[in-house]
Each structure stands twice: as C-alpha cells, then as structure tokens.
C-alpha cells in the first residue's frame, strides 16, 4: 500500500511538468477555415516557441467570448471574430486593446501599421484575412444557364429550388437590397432608414418559403452537397475548398458579394495573455498570413503577403490569386461590409430579423 502511494506520487510528480507546459486555447470557426489556421499559424507557432495550441470551434466565436467574459469564466486566449463584432466587443470592454505598432514589420522593413491594408486595423483586432459572403450554386442543377447576378438568387421562378440563407441580419439585408436593384454604393445609406430596412425584409419575404437557414459556416457546402438547396449564401473559402479540394460541382457567383475582414482578439481575462499576444504577433506576420491564403481562398490583409501567395496547398497546382475575394476581377459588383454600420446596428437589426424569422 505504502509503495503504491510512493509510486503514484512519483508518477504524479513526473506528470506535473507536462501539465505546466505552456499552452493557449484558440477559438476559430471550424471546418476548412480552422484547418487553414492550424496549418499556417498553430503548428509553426508550436514548432517555434514550444507553446502548444488547443483549437476549439464555435459558430461565431464572438458569442461565446461575450458570454465567457460576462460570466467571468474565460477559457479562450485568442479568438477569431469578424471586424464589426470586434468593434462591438471592444466598445463593451470585453476584449483588450492591441497596439498594432508592436507587431513585427514587413520583410522590407515597412512598419506593421503601414503594411496592413488601409482601414483594416482597429483598436482591439489584428486582421488575419479578407473574406467574402457570396452566392454559391450547384452547377449540375442549372443545365440551361447558370445564375449570374444577385437578383437571380431571389428569382425562384427563373431558377427554381431551395435557397440557403445565413441566419442573421448582417450581409443578408445588403444582398436583399442589391438584388432589389440598389447599387452597392447606396446600400448602407438606404439601410439606415426605416424604408430601406422594410424594403430589404420585403425582398427576403419573396424567398422565405424556399429558404433553409444556416448558422455554421460548414453548413452551406453540406446543404449543397446533400441537394437540400441549389443556391446558397456562403463564405467563399468554404466553397473553394469543397470545389477544389473535394471536387464538388460548386461555383461561386462573383456578383453582389459582401466582403469584410476578420482577425484575432484577446478576451479580457484570458488565462495566458502573454502567450496569446505572442501568438497574435507571430500569426499576423507576413509569411504565416500568405501561408494561410494557400490553405483557403481568403485574402491576406498585409500588402507584403500578397505577392507570396502561390498555389493551393491541398492540390499543389491551383493558383490561389483568382479565387481570392481581393482579386480585382472578382470585384466588379462587390460591397465592402460597413464596419460602422454593423458595429452599431447589429443588435437591433438581428432583433427584427428574428421577429421576421419567427413570424408565419
């Protein structure tokens, strides 16, 4: 009995260093996107610093971050959120400010604040990628001509079949207005008004009966693959991975898409803030950002990363550049998501969206 006790104590002592080894928890969005981050950021970071990275997923990490900080029980060190959510979280003091000038400079010596694309930096978030919410469709379902404009997404007479719609107001309302003939440049001015909101919801009404609502980013490619929908709103990187890496007959319609950027925030009260900061600095330096763009078709936010982006790591031959939302030929009719608009109106418009959703 005594020997057993000694043995177990010794084992416990042996096990302790393993427990005390530094580690951080990073919360992402799951699926192909998290995979790109694990490959381009997590693994190289662990190899370089010895800090292991635990990856956890959420439908939208901004939500659990908010809940965790408010409940005073934070388990996440770094989280990936959209810019409007980052500004909101920052306004409410739920994430800590990060000074962009402490980030590593570009290889040619350009300081980080000048190296990031203008307007992408904010008080609390360091961007990792530019992504687009676009309409994706199953090419096999439209033998007599594929949909080409955002208006076609709302035209169930011309293109019959179910539609996948993001369960949330952001991007959905913008797309509805653009499909209703509002030029991209006027969307937000109109959406600020009561009439504009009514018009967007009225447009959504026209396809409500054919709509399947999704919450997680991995759902749209799944819905398309199951034949549950023929066209869906989706994040372009997810569709790219399903189409190129898995050979699915999916295509993205580069018309009326809404693009924005997302990046890392550190929640207030994160268990390992120093290691978290190191992780943010490392992963948003030039090379990891361009590596990530070779795993999923989201554009790097650093100017110095763009020329380094080569071919898709999944097959080693597809050029990434034409698939990035930042590529000029994809930007003929695109809307940059308004950070100010959504930082301030996300709560109230989602409330109305929910009432709309619940109404018969």
């Amino acid at each position: 009995m005594k020997r057993l006790l000694i043995l177990s104590t010794a084992l416990g002592a042996l096990a302790l260093p393993a427990v005390a080894q530094p580690q951080i928890t990073v919360m992402g969005w799951g699926g192909a996107y998290t995979n790109s981050q694990v490959q381009a950021y997590h693994k190289p970071f662990t190899a370089r610093t010895g800090v292991s990275v635990i990856s956890v997923d959420a439908d939208n990490p901004a939500t659990p971050i908010k809940a965790q900080v408010e409940a005073g029980n934070v388990s996440v060190d770094v989280a990936s959120v959209e810019i409007a959510d980052a500004v909101r979280l920052c306004d409410e003091g739920l994430v800590i400010p990060i000074d962009a000038s402490t980030l590593p400079p570009a290889p040619d010596g350009t300081p980080a604040p000048q190296d990031f694309i203008e307007g992408t930096l904010s008080d609390c978030m360091i961007p990792t990628d530019v992504f687009a919410t676009a309409i994706a469709y199953d090419t096999t379902k439209f033998p007599n001509g594929a949909p080409a404009t955002i208006a076609d997404f709302f035209d169930t007479a011309k293109f019959p079949g179910k539609r996948g719609i993001k369960k949330g107001a952001k991007t959905t309302l913008e797309m509805a207005l653009m499909a209703d003939g509002v030029p991209a440049s006027e969307v937000y001015a109109l959406l600020e008004t009561r009439e504009g909101q009514d018009r967007a919801f009225a447009k959504l009404d026209t396809i409500k009966a054919d709509a399947v609502f999704w919450e997680a980013g991995a759902q749209p490619p799944q819905l398309l693959a199951d034949g549950e929908v023929v066209m869906t709103m989706a994040w372009n990187g997810r569709i790219f991975n399903a189409a190129v890496a898995e050979g699915k007959p999916f295509a993205i319609m580069w018309d009326g898409q809404v693009f924005e950027w997302e990046g890392w925030v550190i929640p207030k009260g994160a268990p390992n803030p120093e290691a978290a900061m190191e992780f943010v600095k490392f992963s948003t330096s030039t090379e990891p950002l361009s590596d990530a763009a070779e795993w999923i078709s989201y554009g790097p936010p650093r100017k110095s990363s763009a020329p380094l982006v080569g071919t898709f790591k999944g097959d080693g031959k597809t050029e990434m550049a034409p698939h990035l939302p930042t590529s000029p030929e994809n930007l003929t009719n695109a809307l940059p998501s308004s950070l100010d608009f959504w930082a301030d109106r996300d709560t109230e418009l989602n409330e109305r969206f929910n009432a709309w959703l619940a109404a018969n």
């Binding site: 939500t63 659990p64 908010k66 809940a67 408010e70 909101r88 920052c90 306004d91 409410e92 003091g93 019959p160 179910k162 919801f201 409500k208 709509a211 399947v212 609502f213 199951d226 034949g227 549950e228 100010d340 930082a343 301030d344 109106r345 709560t347 109230e348 989602n350 409330e351 109305r352 929910n354 009432a355 709309w356 959703l357 619940a358 109404a359 018969n360």
Partner: protein, 415 residues
C-alpha cells in the same frame, strides 16, 4: 377534589413532554438524513432558478455605468424635461463610460426598451472625449436624437434597476413616451405568437404520443412475457440512444434527398420535382419530437396496463357489452392514471424542448425555448430570457394546477 393525574415516565418527566422530545429527535434525525439532498436541491436548483427569476425584474447595467444621470433621475419628477444639470450628467457619464469601455453596455440596455438607440450611445461615446460645455449643444451637435423625449423617458425607466419592463417585452408590450403600456409595432411582435405556437405544438405532440403509444403499450401489456420483453427492447433502445443521434437520424430520413423522399420517388409515388418538405419546418418538429417523446407515454401506460386483469373486460363482454363499450367503460377508465401521467410528462417536456426544434424546425418550427436560448447565448439579454422563462414556468404551473383540479394529481401513476 383530586388534581387530574398527569401521566409521567418512570423518571418523573411528564409523558407528553417525553413524547414530544422523542418525536423531535426522530424528526431531527429524519431531517439530517435528507439534509444533504435538501442542500443539493437548494444549491443546484432553487438558488439558480431564484437568481434567474430575480434577473427577470433586475438589471443594473444603466445605473451602474451612468451614475450621475441616474442620480438626476432619482431627484426629479417623471416627465421633467432635461435641464442643464441633466445634460451635464449625461455628457460626463458618457465620457466616463467611453473611457471605461462600458458605453456599449449602456447602449445595449437602453436598446432593449427602445430599439435603434444602441448606435446613438456608441457613436456619441466615440466623440465624448472632446465634449465641452455647453453640454446640451455639444450632445445635440453629436446627434440630434438626444433631444427625443421618448429617449429620456426610456432612460428614466432603464435607470431603475428593478422594473417589470422585461416582462412587458416578453409579452410584446412596451412603454410609450408617457410611460403607458402599449403593444410593440407589428414587425417586432414575436413572443406571444411563439408561446401560442409552443403550446399548440406541445398539445398536438402529446395527443399524437398518446394515440401512438396506447396501442403499443396495450400490446406490450397483453403479449406473453418473452415477446413483450423483446418488444420492450425496441421501445427502450431508442430511449437510451442520444437525443442528438435520434434527431440527426431524422434529418437523414426526412430531408429532400433523404431516405423517405428518395424511396417515394423511386417507387413512382412522387414526381422528382414534387418531393415532400418534411424537415426544416413545423412538420419536421412534430415528427421528430413525437418520436423522441414517445417512450414517455408508453412506459407509464405499460406500467398501468400490465396489472389490469383481462378478466374485467371478459366479464363485461359476458354481461353483454360490445367490445367498444367494454373498452370504453371498463378498460379505458383503468388506464386513465397512465394516460394522465404520460400526457403530462410529454406535454411538460415538449413545452420546454429546445435542441430538436433547433435542428429540424427551420424557421416555422421554432419554439419559445429557442428564443430563450437565443437571448441566453446570442443576444445576451439575460433579463429578457429570464422573463420569458418565468412566463413559461408560470403557464406550466397553471396547467398543472388545472390538471390537478380536473383529474387530480393523486390519480397519476408514473410506474
């Protein structure tokens, strides 16, 4: 006349007192035995529920972050138009809140009662650092909406930490500029309709469960034991399987390209473009929930039917009753405790069901619990979630009371 003799124990203590003492000791022992469970129930059940209910009428996020303006509201009468002191308090509070990064919290709180105002707080908060006296002009220059009397009335309401406003919101009501209770605009009304839908669907699912469960339970109770045990496994196996697994299996079966639709198309019963919409709507919610909850009616029914002697029905038949009359007058009344227990169990579970409608309900199959979950985890309006949950709890208690009055809660047999 002799004193009435008091009975005593051998050592002279009056018997009455000795008895009381012994009983008290027994009671104490009994209490100590159940104390751990009582403590457990209090800590893990009553306290959290109490806290939730408290939260439904309590929210101090305005008072805690806007102290000066809250103090001004406390010293003035309702409907007082904002004076210089009020504008100064507002400007200074906004500046302090912006520096402490709590202006979003305040904006969110006011936005609960007056949708569309969160942006007013956050946008003004960003400019608040440069504010100078005169305060009124500075604030109105930042945004003319600050002069809105409706906003001031709402802020006055929000400054009171205790208020019934979350219950009003949970019933699709709000207050106008004068503080009178009015209905919210049509396009924001959601909760009352959802409560109705929740109770209607729960009732429908209960009826379906009883109709489907009754014959199965009867079969189980009347078959020879070795066959009924085999059948019982078929009932229990799904009962023991994870709820998520059962729900996702229904997705596989019911979806547009799923097993059911594909078989119907393959056999020519359906055209390929006429596939049934069995999922992501109310139909999906009803089918999946009925299946998930079916064992909760079968099991109590079975335990009630098993001991009913078959001779009763035979006696009724031999006295000339038709099989229908024998069933209706003799068999059915004896199974009532089982029907009551099963129906009550299914109904109460269905009213609070959350994960199955979330997965298969689409837009039209959502229940009130999905909105409670939304406010708990997404919008983080915990006070509104608490108010909705309190209303749900109240309605269920009323139904329970009605059931007790109509059927009698003693007349309930769970197994």
């Amino acid at each position: 006349m002799a004193e009435p003799q008091t009975l005593t124990t051998p050592d002279g203590v009056p018997l009455k007192r000795a008895l009381a003492r012994a009983q008290a000791r027994a009671r104490r022992r009994a209490f100590l035995l159940v104390a751990p469970l009582l403590l457990f129930v209090i800590v893990t059940f009553l306290v959290p529920i109490g806290q939730m209910l408290h939260r439904s009428v309590y929210n101090d996020s305005f008072a805690a972050n806007m102290p000066r303006l809250t103090a001004w509201f406390a010293t003035t009468e309702p409907d007082t138009p904002p004076d210089d002191a009020a504008w100064e308090a507002l400007a200074l509070d906004l500046r302090a809140a912006a520096e402490a990064r709590t202006v979003g919290v305040v904006g969110t709180r006011v936005n609960y009662d007056l949708p569309g105002t969160r942006s007013l707080f956050t946008a003004t908060g960003r400019k608040a650092r440069s504010f100078q006296a005169p305060w009124r002009e500075a604030l109105l220059a930042a945004d003319a909406d600050w002069a809105d009397p409706m906003l001031w009335s709402t802020m006055r309401q929000a400054a009171r930490s205790y208020s019934p406003n979350f219950f009003l919101a949970a019933l699709d009501l709000t207050r106008d500029a004068r503080g009178a209770i009015v209905a919210v605009p049509q396009d924001r009304q959601v909760y009352v309709a959802l409560f109705q839908r929740t109770f209607t669907l729960a009732a429908l699912i209960t009826v379906l469960c009883v109709l489907l469960g009754f014959p199965v339970a009867h079969l189980l109770a009347t078959l020879p034991l070795r066959w009924s045990n085999l059948l019982m496994i078929l009932v229990l196996l799904p009962f023991w399987t994870s709820l998520l697994v059962r729900t996702t299996s229904w997705i596989v079966l019911l979806q547009g390209q799923g097993v059911i639709n594909n078989s119907l198309v393959a056999t020519g019963l359906l055209a390929d473009d006429g596939r049934l919409s069995l999922i992501y709507n109310q139909t999906g919610t009803i089918i999946a929930m009925t299946h998930v909850l079916l064992p909760f009616t079968i099991l109590p029914l079975y335990s009630v039917m098993r001991p009913i002697p078959p001779s009763y029905v035979r006696a009724a038949r031999s006295l000339g009753a038709t099989s229908w009359t024998a069933f209706r007058r003799v068999y059915l009344p004896q199974t009532l405790p089982g029907i009551g227990a099963g129906a009550l169990l299914v109904f109460i579970l269905a009213v609070g069901y959350y994960i199955t409608p979330a997965l298969v309900g689409g837009a039209s199959g959502q229940l009130i619990s999905n909105l409670i979950a939304f406010h708990m985890t997404d919008s983080l309006n915990w006070s509104l979630a608490a108010a909705l949950a309190a209303i749900l709890l109240g309605l269920v208690l009323i139904l329970y009371w009605l059931y007790d009055r109509l059927v009698g809660i003693d007349n309930l047999k769970l197994g």
